[in-house]
Amino acid sequence: MNNRLRVLRAERQWSQADLAARLDVSRQAVNAIETGKHDPSLPLAFRIARLFAMPIEAIFDDGIS
């Protein structure tokens, strides 16, 4: 699934490790999500959305318009 996680992270000048610490996941998980190789679970998607203060749909794109 496409997402804007890398862009949002870069805007705040966070490293992957910084973002991982804020989300309470591993840096490997953040990397896998950013590259679209791993889709986050619903609870993690909500945590990401709350962290960036954006709706989930503004961060993740399932390609269905």
Binding site: A17, A20, A21, D24, V25, S26, R27, Q28, A29, N31, A32, I33, E34, T35, K37, H38, P40, S41, L44
Partner: protein
């Protein structure tokens, strides 16, 4: 006394265990074919078991590592299921060519277990490689 290990440390430990365990199981199979000394074979088994224990302990670090664990377990289960069905077939086929002086039933059962562990590590690493950029 509980020792709190950071998320990153646990993830690193998980991946290190996966890599070492994968190498150890390949070393075990290579050692069996090359007739390594018993202590060397024992070491590979020990490393594999220690790796599996570490993977069990650290698999729940986060959902991504859990998905790697599940990929490995699924691959291992498929091999176990196939071995359950085809091990007797293999044993019968092997006995036909080798003769019943060297029955293969026990060897097939032992081999199936190691194949399942090997499949577990292959499944985990395939999932890991496919999830990397």
């Amino acid at each position: 006394m509980m020792i709190k290990i950071s998320q990153d440390r646990r993830a690193t430990s998980f991946m290190a265990s996966a890599h070492f365990g994968g190498l150890a199981i390949f070393a075990y199979l290579a050692g069996r074919m090359a007739n390594w000394p018993d202590f060397a074979i024992g070491m590979t088994i020990g490393i594999t078991l220690a790796s599996l224990l570490a993977l069990i302990l650290f698999s729940r670090t986060d959902e991504y590592l859990l998905s790697l664990w599940h990929a490995g377990v699924s691959a291992g289960f498929i091999v176990v299921a196939l071995a359950f069905v085809y091990a007797p077939v293999f044993a019968g086929w092997s006995d036909t060519f080798l003769g019943t002086a060297n029955p293969t039933q026990a060897a097939a059962a032992q081999f199936a277990g190691m194949l399942a562990i090997l499949a577990f590590y292959v499944g985990l690493h395939v999932r890991w490689l496919r999830s990397r950029a």
